[in-house]
């Protein structure tokens, strides 16, 4: 029983990262009704860019690396918007899907090229802290990951529901043409959505690096798949859905990793997704249409 709880809590804490990645996918989908396949790759790319801070400032503390990743993620988000969405007409839904796949491959290869494919060590905070409650422990670095993710989500929700930009974003998501008639610049809102999603992604990438201890370009594909799974389980376009689904998938996969082994783990995650598609195709929080 204790084993079970321990595994579950570790997984749920790590699941906060999946939630962040899921939010990025869902945010872009909600506003543009397009999928950004390059998102997870850009997130990992942002985290790598954070390492450049270590090169520039020799003994940079971990928070500076995180900040660097956060900002670089935002810039990559904008880059993805310009290269893969801005110039492609809305009438060709397949083109941005393909161009973002091209971007995914490009970001992956740039990382491989610059690091010679070697995994890079990533700084962590509080990795020597352990909270103990008898036999039950909470890892300090995972708690930090969880805490930062929650703060980022609160920040995002505040931005969306308490600011003019958020109002514009939600207006574009609901009715792009009506929003344009009200004087909202749709392309600017779209670009800003990508930047915001990118900022979250860069942060998520850095948190993955910190909790795993290293970054590798091999992370991008599994992260893309997990992010999409979380997005669908949560309900496309629903931010609370992505948060709940992220934590759910994190806990679920860690349980199966513990009891069925790492090679079978993802198979059960896919089964979970299929169960959702068959019995609840709208996800946890289906969009009202």
């Amino acid at each position: 029983m204790l084993d079970f709880l321990q595994t579950l809590s570790d997984g749920v804490l790590f699941g906060a990262i999946y939630a962040l990645i899921g939010i990025g996918f869902t945010l872009v989908f909600g506003v543009m009704h397009k999928i950004n396949m390059a998102y997870a790759a850009a997130s990992v790319g942002g985290a790598y860019a954070g390492l450049l801070v270590l090169k520039a400032v020799v003994v940079a503390p971990a928070w500076m690396v995180f900040l660097g990743a956060f900002l670089a993620g935002g810039m990559l988000g904008w880059l993805v918007y310009v290269t893969c969405f801005h110039f492609i007409p809305l009438s060709s839904p397949l083109a941005p899907l393909m161009s973002t796949v091209g971007m995914l491959l490009l970001i992956d290869e740039v990382i491989v090229h610059l690091t010679a494919g070697m995994p890079q060590n990533y700084p962590a905070m509080f990795d020597d802290v352990m909270l103990r409650f008898g036999e039950f422990t909470l890892r300090g670095d995972l708690l930090l990951v969880f805490g930062i993710s929650v703060l980022a989500m609160i920040g995002l929700l505040a931005l969306l529901y308490r600011s003019r930009l958020g109002l514009a974003t939600r207006a574009v998501a609901q009715q792009p043409i009506a929003a344009q008639l009200c004087g909202i610049r749709v392309t600017r809102v779209n670009a800003l959505t990508f930047v915001i999603a990118g900022l979250l992604g860069g942060l998520a990438g850095a948190l993955i690096g910190a909790s795993v201890g290293a970054l590798s370009p091999l992370l991008t594909t599994p992260l893309t798949v997990k992010g999409l799974v979380v997005t669908v389980i949560g309900g496309l376009g629903s931010i609370p859905g992505a948060i709940v689904a992220g934590l759910l998938v994190g806990g679920f996969e860690n349980l199966f990793q513990q009891f069925r082994g790492v090679t079978e783990r993802d198979m059960y995650v896919m089964l979970l997704l299929f169960a959702f598609l068959v019995f609840r195709p709208g996800g946890l929080f289906p969009a009202k249409s």
Partner: protein, 287 residues
């Protein structure tokens, strides 16, 4: 010369993979499960020739049928969801199949050595062509017989009533439904035909490489499958063939002299191509 025969084999197999996604894309559905049907064809045809000692042609037939049956079975639940949900559903199915083969052991002793799929180590020694003394040129011709047959079939589909029905569903589902077209039947049938084509391609792939493992059938392969028809444009089957030649012969083999930089250029060229020609290299002009 063997190099060019080898290249032609790769182009042929990837054309089959691309065509299996092409027919599904005609109905407006994006399926990332084609790599899974490809894997099912590869493993089943390989097991039939190696473990059961079948000739390669019936083995390919069974691989193709299994691909079609799985595609049909996946089609029903997966096509309840549309658009991006379908992308994710089929992606998840594809990963599920890959992970199944990652955990799949079925070995028998044969002539002192154990043969058959062995989990993460893959499935070695699918040596039907070598054992029967086929030359590279003959294998290439064998593969292209299938490619040309499938291309002719799809070309004929395009000119038949069935092709018009497929495209009408892809253009506008509501309009298609209002003239009495059964959407589910059309989509599932396209998926089934696609699964059969991918199954043949997979069987050929297994025999041509002689060694397959789960990692061959990852998301990247699934993305390539849909990339060929999208990059080539959905107007005719030749778009897919041209895209395969563009990617496999030009981007991958032709740019080999660039070394590491080739991979960088690869992604960038796809991005550029989609920006300049959003409807594919040979797609229609304008919106």
């Amino acid at each position: 010369m063997d190099f060019y025969f080898g290249l032609a084999q790769t182009v042929g197999i990837h054309t089959l993979l691309g065509l299996s996604a092409y027919i599904v894309l005609l109905t407006g559905q994006v399926s990332l499960a084609q790599a899974a049907f490809f894997a099912i064809g590869a493993y089943s045809a390989g097991m039939l020739t190696v473990l059961a000692g079948w000739h390669v042609v019936p083995a390919l037939g069974v691989g193709s049928m299994l691909g079609a049956v799985t595609a049909c079975a996946v089609g029903f639940p997966a096509l309840r969801v549309k658009g991006l949900m379908l992308v994710v559903a089929t992606l998840a199915f594809g990963e599920g199949v890959r992970l199944f083969f990652f955990n799949f052991d079925y070995q028998v002793a044969k002539g002192g050595i154990r043969v058959g799929p062995l989990g993460g180590e893959g499935f070695r020694q699918i040596r039907f062509f070598q054992e029967h003394g086929w030359t590279t040129g003959e294998v290439m011709l064998f593969i292209w017989v299938f490619v040309i047959a499938v291309m002719a079939l799809l070309w004929w589909f395009d000119r038949s009533r069935y092709g018009a029905v497929l495209r009408s569903v892809g253009e506008d589902e509501v309009a298609a439904q209002s003239v009495g077209i059964n959407l589910t039947a059309v989509k599932v049938s396209a998926m089934t035909v696609g699964g059969a084509i991918a199954g043949v391609g997979g069987g050929l792939y297994a025999h041509y490489t002689t060694h397959i493992e789960h990692a061959n059938f990852n998301v990247l392969l699934a993305t390539f499958a849909i990339a060929y028809p999208i990059v080539g444009g959905l107007r005719t089957v030749f778009g897919t063939l041209t895209a395969v030649i563009f990617v496999q012969a030009f981007l991958i083999e032709g740019l080999r002299f660039l070394g590491d930089w080739r991979n960088l250029l690869f992604g960038a060229l796809i991005v550029l191509a989609m920006n300049l020609r959003p409807h594919g290299l040979f797609g229609r002009h304008g919106a």
